[in-house]
């Protein structure tokens, strides 16, 4: 299948690459299938491109790369519906907001995407722990 995307032109979709969200990205209930796109030549480098809506894509980042102390504590029940036994086997990503003003580039550390790359399932989780901000500014020191 060929997907005519808003940001990346034509992208070919292989079934084995499609990630299924067991819980949706909040507000996007009808879009449960995504591709993880990596392109070193652009910023941001990683994107979740919706398969259901070619116009929809979210830039993502590893929260550990923007906050070295980032850690999440999950109960095993949180991992059940994405078939994970341990968080060590997961890929954790957070959504970025990338507006035209570079100093406003931020990522949402409060609602990470937990992804099981082996089974190709993922979900967005809202952490009950309030220590991580919804707006974590990536470039400048606006967080301090």
């Amino acid at each position: 299948m060929l997907l005519k995307t808003r940001l990346f032109g034509e992208v070919s979709v292989k079934d084995e690459d499609v990630i299924h969200f067991t819980k949706p990205i909040l507000g996007f209930d009808d879009c449960r299938q995504y591709l993880l796109i990596e392109n070193e030549a652009i910023f941001p480098t990683f994107w979740l491109q919706s398969v259901n809506d070619p116009n929809l894509a979210f830039p993502v980042v590893s929260p550990f790369s923007v906050d070295e102390n980032y850690s999440i504590n999950l109960q095993t029940l949180d991992l059940d519906d994405i078939d994970l036994k341990s968080l060590d086997d997961a890929l954790v990503l957070t959504l970025m907001v990338v507006p035209q003003t570079l100093s406003s580039i931020r990522t949402n550390l409060r609602a990470p995407i937990i992804y099981n790359p082996e089974k190709k399932v993922a979900k967005q989780l809202i952490l009950y722990d309030e220590k991580y901000p919804i707006h974590f500014y990536v470039i400048d020191d606006a967080n301090n």
Partner: protein, 76 residues
């Protein structure tokens, strides 16, 4: 909206498996306890709405030209 009056310590039950209890009543706030299956997400409304809004903002992100980006990081 269904409106029910409850006293301190009383509860309401929703669909067999959700129990919402009034734990504490103060002048301007009440403490609510929720017993529900672990996989049922429960959020403060303002947090839920903020995350939804932030997701929407994320979806309108654009690609930044790498050269522009590199020079702007240098200025920081």
């Amino acid at each position: 909206m269904l409106i029910l009056t409850r006293k301190l310590g009383e509860s309401i039950i929703i669909d067999d498996n959700v129990q919402i209890s009034v734990i504490e009543i103060n002048k301007n706030n009440i403490k609510i306890g929720v017993n529900a299956p672990r996989d049922l997400p429960i959020y403060r409304e303002e947090v839920y709405l903020k995350i939804k809004e932030e997701n929407a903002q994320a979806s309108s992100s654009g690609i930044i030209d790498f050269v522009d980006f590199a020079s702007s990081t240098l200025e920081v």
